[in-house]
Amino acid sequence: MKNRIKELRARYDLTQDDLAKIVKVRRETIGALERGKYNPSLILAFTISKVLKHNIHDVFIFEEDNYND
């Protein structure tokens, strides 16, 4: 699953630290999400989308090709 967290975070001038504090996760988790190494829980995905003022499907892009990877 791809995501636009880095792009949207930069648009709102938020650092990884800021976003981590708002959504109550560790900074490393935001880094892992941005690098596409971790797929968040539904609650975290919704929270991040809400903070970044976008719909969940605009922030997290589902790639059907990689579904079984």
Partner: protein, 130 residues
């Protein structure tokens, strides 16, 4: 804060009890194996202090001590080290049956090995997942 002090509390007791167990009263000759064990226990203790310090620092910065990713990593590390520990204990039983090793050392290697396996699993999974 309970989550911070609990690992330190447990680690302190592990070090103290391991010390009592390994260093027997009146036993003045420390073997190389004893010294290795003491070194490994101290290393694990220092790692425990380091991780607890990291948690305190995160709490002061207003970040959570743990989150969903760290819990997943801990869970995977626990599962991996559990499977590896079974192999370790089976290997130790096999070695004990074929070589004349004191039971004290078999237990020491087993217990310290389990702790080491967890730390190594955690480090590898943490690098891979985050």
């Amino acid at each position: 804060m309970k989550k911070v002090f609990l690992p330190v509390f447990v680690l302190t007791w592990v070090v103290v009890l391991s010390g009592f167990w390994i260093i027997q009263p009146g036993d003045t000759n420390s073997s190389t194996l004893e010294l290795i064990f003491i070194g490994v226990i101290l290393l694990l203790f220092i790692l425990g202090i380091y991780f607890s310090y990291g948690r305190i620092k995160r709490k002061k910065e207003g970040l959570p001590e743990e989150d969903e990713l760290s819990r997943i990593i801990e869970g995977k590390a626990a599962a991996t080290s559990y499977y590896l520990s079974i192999i370790l204990w089976l290997a130790l039983i096999f070695i004990q049956n074929h070589l004349s090793i004191e039971l004290k050392w078999v237990f020491s290697i087993g217990m310290i090995g389990m702790a080491l396996l967890f730390v190594i699993s955690w480090v590898i999974i943490n690098i891979r997942e985050s």
